[in-house]
Amino acid sequence: MSTPILFDLPGPKAKARIRIGTVIGVLVVLGLLAIVLLRLDGNGQLDPARWAILFDPNSGVPQALGEALVRTLQVAVVAMVAATVLGVLLAVGRLSDHRWVRVPITTVIEFFRAIPLLVVIFALYFVLPAFGPDLSAFAALALGLTLYNMAVLAEIFRAGILSVDKGQREAAFALGMRKTQVMTQVLLPQATRRMLPVLIAQIVVLLKDTSLGFIIGYFELLRQARSLVEFLNFNFGNIYTLQIYVGAGLLYILINVLISQLAKLVEKRTRSSARAAGAAAPALPTATVSTGNNSGL
């Protein structure tokens, strides 16, 4: 989509150049592929018998990975729901008319956005017990993910609320609605609708971050893969390492690609339905969302 703006429809000379470039490009790609495959094959990593373990129910590997996936999703769902609820509250709070509400909430949001998620999780898992409450790995991971993502989601919701046309708010006040009514019945529904693609995209980020559970020993997908490898290496020698990791990695990629596609679909639909609704529907404020550091990393 981006390409046609930079060059004209190529003429015969340019076509020839592009064709040469394409051939060289194909060769480069094939060369890279060949190197990778040769390296893998040289170590016998491509042996089908090695890969079969991923699908063989007798080995217990598919079951173990499936259960671990469920545990990954559990923590992701808990954190996503909690973070969304808290995120809405924080977003509304940050837009409050009262300074004593606005200032502390802004501080909380900026604090959790500024420090690495892993530090939050470490603080909950290693530092908090020194003061009393002992959190399980699940609780520390879920709470850490919640705290971090609520701050990110708060900024997304805030951008959404601010992007709603000013007239909507004024009209609602003119109808005699109270502040709370304007927020809950007019601004938030429109903001949520508009931010839905970004919210779904944030699920991908959250799902990716559940893998930090590996570091504090929560048995999610990655930790499970690691312990499977250790178990299999102990019994059969080092032959299934790469296969198990690839299996776990592919599970992440599969789910995330599906969610990303869903986000794209929703974005397309909101955009077209906004146009169908006529009027001067402003463009999706995707640019304003990336003001902070929630760039999906």
């Binding site: 989509m1 981006s2 390409t3 703006i5 930079l6 060059f7 190529p10 592009i18 470039g21 394409t22 490009g25 194909v26 480069v28 790609v29 890279l32 893998l40 040289g42 170590n43 990593q45 500024a114 420090i115 690495p116 998620l117 892993l118 530090v119 470490f122 603080a123 290693f126 530092v127 020194a130 003061f131 799902l207 990716k208 971050d209 559940t210 893998s211 930090l212 590996f214 570091i215 990655l222 893969a225 690691r226 490898v229 390492t241 790469l242 990791y245 990695g249 992440y252 990629i253 995330n256 690609v257 990303s260 990336s290 003001t291 902070g292 550091n293 929630n294 760039s295 999906g296 990393l297």
Partner: protein, 215 residues
Amino acid sequence: MQFFVDNFDTLLRAFLTTLSLSLLAGVLALVLGTLLAAMRVSPILPLRGLATFYVELFRNTPLTVVFFFVIFGLPQIDTVVSFFPGAVIAVGAYTAAFVAEAIRSGINSVNPGQAEAARALGLGFGQSLREVVLPQAFRTVVPPLGSVFIAMVKNTSIAAGFSVTELSSTLPRLVNADAGALLLVLLGVVVGYMIITLPMAFAVNRLERRVAILR
């Protein structure tokens, strides 16, 4: 307090590890990301496909998994990398995908009329890219690229799970300290990250304002 003073050296060294990890990975990500972005807008289909594959692959993979493949996966094909270079490669390769996306969206955000006008004036591909499109793209790219790199600094913390003694790893290492001392260490870690990220955010803001143009 005494505990904190005793371990200040550990913290400082950890901070320097985080800093050098960020710098090296940042350079790698910038170079690789720019290359990928150029490939994605080029007219050559296989290069475009390769870059798209790379970006989509890394954007949908957790950084921890990337670490896994670099640290535990590469040895399976006889390429052993030690922990610190491995962390640089993992963070750099992962961030490159996001850098490429930021730069590409910057190029896309330039009004097609600009490129058309440049071509109508008789500028070639290279000239219109160099003189018209890229200078404008660079301006829109500054804020998203800035947040990518700030997020990258925070992401270097994942190296703690892979035996790199960077800033976050001081927490589990000093976990046996008493409550007050541990809290001080946590504070030190947080401040350490902020020493890197806050000036970055400030610089991005300044740069954004300096190169801003009214459209």
